[in-house]
Symmetry: C2
């Protein structure tokens, strides 16, 4: 199955899983730029399970919209486990959602370093019962390929936390 | 030129126009679900001109994230000129952006009425100097086609306000 078909299938499965529980979801996205929210809302009826999305592209947006601490941004960088966990928890606290996902990474072509090369993406998933999971991925490919692989990973992690 | 190619071209032109002015943009999206933010951030370097996006899918999100008044939501509905103007102004006030776009519509297949059939989409564009424009569109096609045409319109209206 191709990447795009998989994103559609995962979005549909996620909708069914959320509807089955009566849960709303929220997203907190940096490098994917709204791609996860777009995928979730591609499914008809998604107003029943999608509450809101925060596209926090700048550090200021991460602080102001999600309550990420300036201290963690300076100490660990925006692409770090501690920041994606803060983003996911901030999205849960500032919404009516019961589950959230946060994504922060380096889509390229610029912005990479030895430590965090292009394709480095951190994910965090959190639910209202306190369960959480985080993941570091290193995707291959160009900017668009990194972003689309990150969207797929974000969706599949939401499904995994729901099951 | 196909719709997808046009969205890419408009996103690139928008990036150049924003960078040329030193302006950041913000988005406030309902029915497009983050598709406009995703298109803008598909362009490499977009962290230089994209500040943040608000994906306000529920009425509560429109109120809490953008300051849309419950009174206007009840009186005019979420898909109305007064609400998209409030959304666009709210995005400008709650960001570091100098220009914003708001989109609220009925992507379908459900949610249509005689008054506001599927494909009805309201747009508003606002900049920091107080210039603003609003538009009512009625798009043909299925859910995905309505959403993609709305993304194209949102981008082209941003460019028009910038020029």
């Amino acid at each position: 199955m191709g990447l795009e078909a998989e994103i559609i299938r995962l979005s549909q499965e996620l909708g069914e899983a959320l509807a089955g529980r009566g849960w709303m979801a929220a997203t907190a996205e940096s490098c994917t730029g709204g791609g996860v929210a777009t995928a979730i809302t591609e499914v008809a009826g998604s107003s029943g399970w999608f509450d809101r999305g925060f596209v926090t592209y700048t550090n200021e947006a991460k602080q102001q919209m999600l309550g990420v601490s300036i201290d963690n941004l300076l100490r660990h960088g925006a692409v770090s486990e501690v920041v994606v966990l803060e983003m996911a928890r901030g999205a849960l606290a500032r919404s009516d959602a019961a589950i959230s996902v946060a994504i922060s990474g380096i889509a390229g072509p610029g912005g990479g370093s030895d430590d965090k090369p292009v394709g480095t993406v951190w994910f965090a998933w959190v639910d209202k019962s306190g369960r959480h999971h985080s993941l570091l991925a290193r995707f291959d490919g160009d900017r668009q390929q990194v972003r689309r692989q990150a969207v797929r990973q974000a969706l599949s992690g939401l499904l995994a936390l729901l099951r």
